[in-house]
């Protein structure tokens, strides 16, 4: 009896080890294996190859030659980051314990069209209100809101207060320049307060498999009036190339409203939802996982062009004037 019990108890640890046999081994942690793993994950899961007309196999051929198992971590990181930069996507990063690769050409190669000091000093002025993340004031009977990041949460209380404050005004300027994105919940919370009726904002194409063109049929997204109060008079949304990701979504949600005008520069894009994936060496890559299009088929990855293109005039800037705000004030009066 004791012998049988002993054998039975001995069997338990064996189960601990047998499951390892049933599970796939992690890929080798060598520079070459990490490079191949990253290339393969992007190949199978990145969503914008077809739209961007990128030949990912050619990219492999180019960068694989630069990788060998003798290279340092820093060298490997640089090669991988260069390879990812071929995607020309601000949602693509490689994170290691010593660096974060990024693609910022969506705005670095363009004029900034925003001067925070001028906005704070000459438009918001010291007496502006900071209602949660919404900096707001009234300029010549026009409401002005500056919202710098969709990562800063807007509550219903915040937006109720601001809408109430602006209720009798002719128009409202919503300035989202330099807003690099954040949560889409904040997009809906804010945009729904300027929405007059349910409207189709965009279509999302989710990937359904590893092929570059493997997508589910498009999923339509709508914006509907939200909260207890909405502002449906004239609205101007101010944009520049640094408006990215969730800010891009917000601009698109406002773009479909007939009483809204988009003024400034084109937004930076970032229409795909970024997701993360771990590599064999523990680094984490991030990349776009889906694709969004405006109802007419325009791909939102390339940024949303404004209705009225206005650049920050350098002569005006020296005088402390924001040409884009001035144009919006003219438009709404």
């Amino acid at each position: 009896m004791k012998k049988k019990l002993f054998i039975t108890l001995l069997g338990i640890p064996l189960l601990f080890s047998c499951e390892k046999v049933l599970m796939e081994d992690a890929p080798e942690n060598t520079p070459v294996a990490n490079f191949e793993y990253l290339w393969d994950v992007i190949d199978r899961r990145y969503s914008l190859f077809t739209f961007k007309n990128i030949n990912w196999q050619n990219v492999h051929s180019t960068y694989r030659k630069k990788v060998n198992n003798e290279m340092s971590e820093g060298e490997l990181f640089n090669v991988m980051a260069e390879m990812l930069a071929e995607l020309k996507d601000g949602h693509v990063n490689l994170q290691s314990e010593f660096d974060l690769s990024r693609y910022w050409k969506t705005y670095l190669d363009h004029p900034e069209n925003f001067n925070g000091t001028i906005v704070t000093k000459n438009y918001l002025k010291p007496d502006h209100l900071r209602t949660g993340p919404l900096l707001n004031t009234i300029i010549d009977s026009i409401g002005y809101i500056y919202y710098g990041s969709f990562s800063s949460n807007i509550s219903e209380h915040h937006i109720d207060f601001v809408i109430n404050r602006f209720r009798g005004l002719k128009g409202v300027i919503i300035d989202v320049r330099n807003n690099g994105g954040g949560s889409t919940e904040n997009v809906i919370t804010l945009a729904s307060r300027f929405t007059d009726m349910t409207r189709h904002t965009h279509n999302t194409f989710y990937k359904r498999g590893p092929g570059h063109g493997d997508f589910y049929p498009p999923v339509a997204s709508y914006i509907s009036p939200g909260g207890s109060l909405q502002f449906t008079r004239k609205v101007a949304v101010l944009t520049n190339r640094k408006c990215y990701s969730a800010a891009n979504d917000f601009i698109q949600s406002m773009n479909v409203l007939p009483h809204v005008v988009i003024i400034g520069d084109s937004s930076g894009g970032g229409g795909g939802t970024p997701i993360s994936h771990e590599l064999p060496n523990g680094w984490i890559c991030r990349f776009s996982s889906d694709m969004t299009e405006a109802p007419g088929g325009y791909n939102l990855e390339q940024g949303i062009p404004p209705d009225i293109y206005v650049a920050l005039d350098s002569t005006d800037e020296q005088k402390g004037i924001d040409s884009i705000i001035e144009r919006a004030l003219d438009e709404l009066k």
């Binding site: 189960l15 796939e24 989710y206």
Partner: protein, 270 residues
Amino acid sequence: MQRFLLFLHFTLVLSTDVTAQQEKPRFIQFGGGWGCYTVLDPAVSPHLYVGDNVLFRIGYLAQKPNVINTLDIDFSYGKLKSGSGNILSSTSRLIGGDINFRKVLRVRRAANDKFTAYVGAGLLTHGLYRNYELFMNNGSQFDYTNSISAESVIIKNFSFKNRKLSLGWRLSLPVFSASIVPSYNTSLPEGFIHHGEKPVSATLKSVDFVTMNAFQRIITGLTLSYPLLNGNSLQLDYHWDFYHYSKMNKLTVASHSFRLLLLFGISKPS
């Protein structure tokens, strides 16, 4: 912890009167324990995520000479850590739940009456949620499965220091399952990526009906029962649960669970 040990001590002391051993056919069971999970989720990482979890169980057991019915409701909570070894190493919170109903019928009793074999079927519901804390937008991953399983149990009675103990071995093999997992690149099942879809319709769109070719699961374990006063008993339970989902986003999960369970008789012997 001290209170629990004290409670356990008194329970064992109270059970020393062997003449008080009785058999009751129906029991409520509850208890807890420790487990260890290993998760391989290639949708987010090539590494095994391994970690401890705490376990709780409430259950019902009806044991008659020819049939055993069990209903187990299990809950587990724990934390997993990536096996990458990098200082960035991601961690994952884990919440698991099982509701398992099993019915087995006696098929063989050994001539010396020392072991009895049962076979039957089960309805197994299993859900496991992982939240990978460093991952953006796809950090929430889960799997949910309802299965019809083939069940077998062998119970061996034996004496140890004048007490009648029993050792049970069981095996569950799901043969037909309905599974829901996130779609290829998201944290949402296929039916739920369509905004505004009604929950029932979205759920039906998300369900994947699979047999053993796409979903392989094995649950096996040992249970040592020790009789207490008034027909109650104490059980030391170990089980190993392994499953592999081999559709688009492959997933492999293994868990070891050790539980200490108290079984309270709720009916007098017939």
